[in-house]
Symmetry: C2
Subunit: 213 residues, 2 copies
Amino acid sequence: MNQRALRKTREQEGRRLDILNAAERLFSENGFFKTSMVEIAEAAEFAIGTVYHFFKSKEDIYISLIEEKMEDFARLIDARLAETASSQDKLGAVIRTKLEYFEQNRNFFRIYVSEWSGFEWTVKSAFGERCWKRYQAQLDLVADIIETGSRQGEFRALDPAEAAFALHGMLNSTIYLWILQPKPSGSLVAKSPSLLTLFLHGVAQPGNSRGTT
Amino acid sequence: MNQRALRKTREQEGRRLDILNAAERLFSENGFFKTSMVEIAEAAEFAIGTVYHFFKSKEDIYISLIEEKMEDFARLIDARLAETASSQDKLGAVIRTKLEYFEQNRNFFRIYVSEWSGFEWTVKSAFGERCWKRYQAQLDLVADIIETGSRQGEFRALDPAEAAFALHGMLNSTIYLWILQPKPSGSLVAKSPSLLTLFLHGVAQPGNSRGTT
DNA sequence: TGAAAAATAGAATACTCATTCATACTATTA
DNA sequence: TAATAGTATGAATGAGTATTCTATTTTTCA
């Protein structure tokens, strides 16, 4: 009997995911406000009523989506960081992991970046707060890496939070550019080395590092 | 009689701007979808009907807003670039001007970045296309600077478009971080030098530039 | 099998708003 | 001053849609 109960739970979980996946696609294509519950229900092949058995509101779907994906992502980053030693390598791992994750999760990226700038616009709730914390945690992680690197002389002395934000912006832009292109020209992860170099050493030609004016 | 006609036109233009300003504040606080025409009208101290005499739709307000601000911004950048010679200085000017502009136009920033990632979501029209082109032009400008710098040996060889996007992302992140802070702690433009250095030379401690593994 | 529980369905409800338009006001000028 | 043109008004319209709720179908298991 327990077997059956388990299968049932598994099936329910599967349906929940079907809904989340359908929603992810629609949200990423049309945004939160231009996606209707009926559309989500249809895409997931359920009636609206059923969708409401799984999620208490449209916001709930949206937030659950973001939360679960962010958790995935955080886990992946943690795993990768565990395998590295120097701060430079850690940065490399962060860059590579982020590119890799969003290369696999193109749809989610639209949602992710749009929340970066406008969270309060879409959603305002306790759930929303949770997502935002997760976002922050991600950035703090990078700031910590940079701070450690600074202390150990690998990096220059700079504001770790600012540098972390800068890296974050650089990566998001890069991912965005890649996603914009109709034909995913080559892999995104492949850009990791050049991005790491850019962040570590900048664009200036070494040796031409004249004063800044 | 012509004098009067002129004053009239001026007054009309003033009212138009009042509406745009009210809309800018509301859009930046609550986003496009959570701002209603009635709210805009009230904030601008007009009746709804009047607002529709100046703009043919809510989208029209939104797009006009973005277009006019972007034009301002583009003009400012062009002026500043005209005063510089080396590619490094040009980059410095772009950075300084962008920070300066958004330090003056905090409200607009929210709108600006949110459109960066989700233009198709908010608005889909010929007007929207125009704004997007302007966005692109801005990026191309920076890409050109970088390309020129590369050719002349100031910069390393790298993909100019990618580097331009990266810079764009870095700056947006930085501006965002600054705006997030409740107390505008110090000026934003003041961060220009360190950002230029970051983009030119990276975070690595010179001399510690070990290979990337 | 058959009654109770669980899951699904989708029509009806209850809003929110963008936009329109007939009306009222204000300035202009003959 | 009166007729005209130019502006401003805001109630009414209509479309869209999140959510609720009752009815139906399916599953469970004694």
